[in-house]
Symmetry: C2
Subunit: 323 residues, 2 copies
Amino acid sequence: MRIAIFGFGNLGRGVVEAAKQNPDVRLIGIFSRRDPEKIGAKPVDIPIYPATLLERAKHDIDVLLLCGGSAVDLPEQTPTLARDFNVVDSFDTHAKIPTHFRAVDAAARAGGHLALISAGWDPGLFSLARLYAAAALPQGKSYTFWGRGVSEGHSDAVRRLPGVLDARAYTLPNEAALDAVRGGETPQLTAGQMHRRVCFVIAAPNADRGEIVRRIREMPAYFADYDTEVNFVTETEMARDHAALPHGGSVIRSGRRGVHRHTVEFSLRLGSNPEFTAGVLVACARAVHRMRARGEVGCRTLLDVAPADLSPQSADELRRTLL
Amino acid sequence: MRIAIFGFGNLGRGVVEAAKQNPDVRLIGIFSRRDPEKIGAKPVDIPIYPATLLERAKHDIDVLLLCGGSAVDLPEQTPTLARDFNVVDSFDTHAKIPTHFRAVDAAARAGGHLALISAGWDPGLFSLARLYAAAALPQGKSYTFWGRGVSEGHSDAVRRLPGVLDARAYTLPNEAALDAVRGGETPQLTAGQMHRRVCFVIAAPNADRGEIVRRIREMPAYFADYDTEVNFVTETEMARDHAALPHGGSVIRSGRRGVHRHTVEFSLRLGSNPEFTAGVLVACARAVHRMRARGEVGCRTLLDVAPADLSPQSADELRRTLL
């Protein structure tokens, strides 16, 4: 299976590493809108082409992995490219998934291609955990706890404040809430009761630190509803302690049937969010390739993919070794 | 969707309860080889018929849930009944799944029906967790820890010893091994290093208790490779403390990509093993009904089922609320 990457940020770099771990996958190239000369830390052996050459490589790419961002890139790129390519994206703006799905579905059908959107861990593996748990325990309550991990959207929001040179915002689960839910309790909890936030900020030399703290803590939607801690750090400390992008979390569903309580939990502890997400994207590319070969067109999500299609092992092998 | 139960033990009783939690499911009856008059604690509103009437109800049943045991019942019943019914079973003898699959597949194809075997949590949801984790992290190591839970096969083995009136054998994870694997370590571990066993035994009045302990601890395959604790209890204690059939466990996979480590965990804590398993069976019946309606025949396992087919929600609703 020949894949290519469109967009070479953290996720694209993760796909380069993930492809190496999948012997049935050949990464034929990276397409970028940036000047290839200006991209630092290029992978060895994988060519980087300008995005304008993508159209010409159409017949050499079985599945194109779209590694742009959900805010601006994917809403435009995925529907456009799904006309000419089988594509996988990691669109993760939950509220806009239905709209994105419809646009991609129409484009993929028009072009006779297959697209899989919102691959990754949330949406993605966490969505699967929510579905399986609810199917097995229809009467129950599901909770999603995120963290400990870096929230890139929240980090960006802090970076935009005056007097802030750089920032990293972490989301952490509220341990007491997590323990209660793990223990089978089903309390009513807001996102703010389930999580807290911890920020690390490099302030400009003359900045009013008290004002920065106040503006972070009062930022609606992002921080106002959460117990938020703000720490000021030096550039050295930021580079040393906060360079990685760890993330993770837990989906927990508790339900009762008869007199008994049952609890299902799916958890991830990820050293690097984009690296792990990239692994899911490559597995999804495999499924798209197989499903397209069986004649499927249109848009899908992980909820529509038979699990065996994600695996390099044959159905016989899976039944023998893993079922 | 109209379902029926064949075999009315603990699992069949679980299906009666699970069906009530699924408004799209109508349980039309229970078929049993036992004299219906001799079955205790009959469910209200659900008729119990003799097994001999099953053939006559063929056109009233969309999916038949086979609730017999894996040792004797299912290897014969599932292939026989898959000729005339769409069926779901919970066949769980891992080593014999490929043989069972082939027999059921041939029968279901011959009869133009669809069968799903080995539904439940292991095989079942644990198999799915192993597959998804390995697809996302191809270079890694998977572990399955079982317990704390009642092992029915091991309980039976103890019950067959001379001088034993009743017994319950629990499997427990070795907490040190579990913590190491959860922490991202990937040690080489035998099943005996990952688990220990605790037995509760009612001895006959004149039995040689030392001899019972010795014979349990030396029983090959079942106990010899495990740290095994044996406790003698009274009938009252057994009824009070060991009437339920709790189970559970964890599938954990750790893998490395680049410099980072990633850990995926799926855990269950089940108040009652057969009750929870029954919930999975009913969800699988829904998928079988839908897949058959799309023209599929033959044998499947959960690894072949698109997750959305297990859910009562529509694809649109799933994308909007749960993805």
